[in-house]
């Protein structure tokens, strides 16, 4: 009954392959493809094979990724109604610390588990003028994992605000969790928890 873990996790890992650099009046799919290719390139680069270079590789990946996620939107949607309980200062802190948290967790896994996956771009659906769904499939030796990116257009171009892997949405999964945490703890305590996770 627990066989669903594997694809979900592998895919959550692969999420972060799906991200990186400059923007303009491009199609959402193109804006997704460019960073994905870039991150795969960094992961394959023999320059970083040495253990001592892993930290540098990590920073490179993070540089590529961070500009392609709309962490403010991800934070708002993950907190949902709880966003209103946070003060503007707490919102800002949360957005920073949650962004770092997601980055830490997933770059770790990318570096640890990358196995020459291929990403196939299935297509894009325009949900509205400023919203799109880009569908991809991650091809592994033993499995194909469908992975959909929800993208939102802002002034800098298309940004990712949610990732859906086999029906499990990153934002919704964290929303369920934050609802639980905030039913017994304050926003400051939640921020503190995330911060502690970031600095083991």
């Amino acid at each position: 009954m627990d066989t669903f873990f594997k694809p979900v996790i592998v895919a959550m890992v692969m999420v972060w392959i799906g991200t990186a650099s400059p923007a303009s009046g491009k199609e959402p799919l193109d804006e997704l493809k460019q960073p994905i290719d870039k991150v795969i390139e960094i992961l394959r680069d023999p320059l970083y094979r040495d253990e001592a270079k892993k930290k540098l590789q990590r920073e490179k990946i993070w540089d590529v990724i961070r500009t392609h996620f709309d962490f403010l939107e991800i934070s708002k949607r993950s907190l949902a109604r709880n966003w209103l309980v946070f003060t503007p200062k707490e919102r800002k802190e949360f957005t920073e610390v949650f962004g770092d948290f997601l980055g830490e967790i997933y770059i770790d896994k990318l570096q640890g588990e990358f196995q020459d996956e291929k990403v196939v771009y299935v297509g894009q659906e325009m949900v509205s003028d400023s919203k799109a769904l880009v569908k991809t499939t991650v091809i592994r030796k033993t499995a194909e994992i469908p992975m959909n990116y929800s993208m939102l257009k802002n002034n800098d171009g298309w940004k990712i605000y949610d990732v859906n892997i086999e029906g499990v949405s990153l934002v919704q999964n964290y929303r369920t969790q934050f609802n639980q945490t905030l039913s017994k703890e304050s926003p400051a305590q939640l921020i503190e928890r995330l911060r502690n996770k970031n600095q083991p």
Partner: protein, 270 residues
Amino acid sequence: MLLAVLSVCCENESVAGSFSETAERHFQTDRKLILAEAVRPPSNSGEIEEDFFNEDLDFLEEEAEEETVQVADPLKPWNRAMFHFNDKFYFWVLKPVTQGYRFVIPEDIRVGVKNFFNNLAAPIRVANSLLQGKWGGAWAEFSRFFINSTVGVLGLADPASTSFPQMEPSEEDLGQTLGSYGIDNGVYIVWPFLGLSTLRDTVGWVGDGFLRPTFYIRPTEAALAIRAYQTVNATSFRIGDYEDFKEAAIEPYEAFRDAYLRHRKTLVEE
């Protein structure tokens, strides 16, 4: 006076679990927030970008529909205890045993064993594909079973996948079949050893059991031993996955429940 109002609001704040209770709490907390802002010194609000003052939550409406995946969890105390039990069982028993097994047994053999058990479960997938009217899927599963049981030597190899990649495995089970008939999950249940499930999926799992050859093995101890071995072999391919997902969670119980329910929902809809 303001302080008095504030303290009253705080007292009303309940330790809510359910969604509606939480929503109500927000309403109260909202007022508290507004009051709190009123008494708070202007602080360093100058450094905070305008975005963080934005209280526009319109997007919640478009997503309201998606919230319906929530499944009742009246057995929460039991479920949490079992979730905890399974977690300990994994780290104290299953993982060390599997690591030893993986160290001793080469990957090729483990893949063969996995294929063998997977092939044995083909009748379940054929039957459920038929029950859902997925004739193509049923035919693909039947053909794969036939090819792998013969050319693939009792299912140890999986020549069907390499020779006929267009015949995709059709991962159907009775829980999905019942779901496709419009039967709800009922309640969420965590079983010791078996893991995450719902009432519907449990009924499905028991029903599928009759199509599992190992079900008919006697004595029961032998059947359980085979089942345990199958679990260890399957786990040998995914050590680390559980740890990773748990590591990425702030509230592991809720994270796993949500992931299970949404993933199952997607499978039913396919």
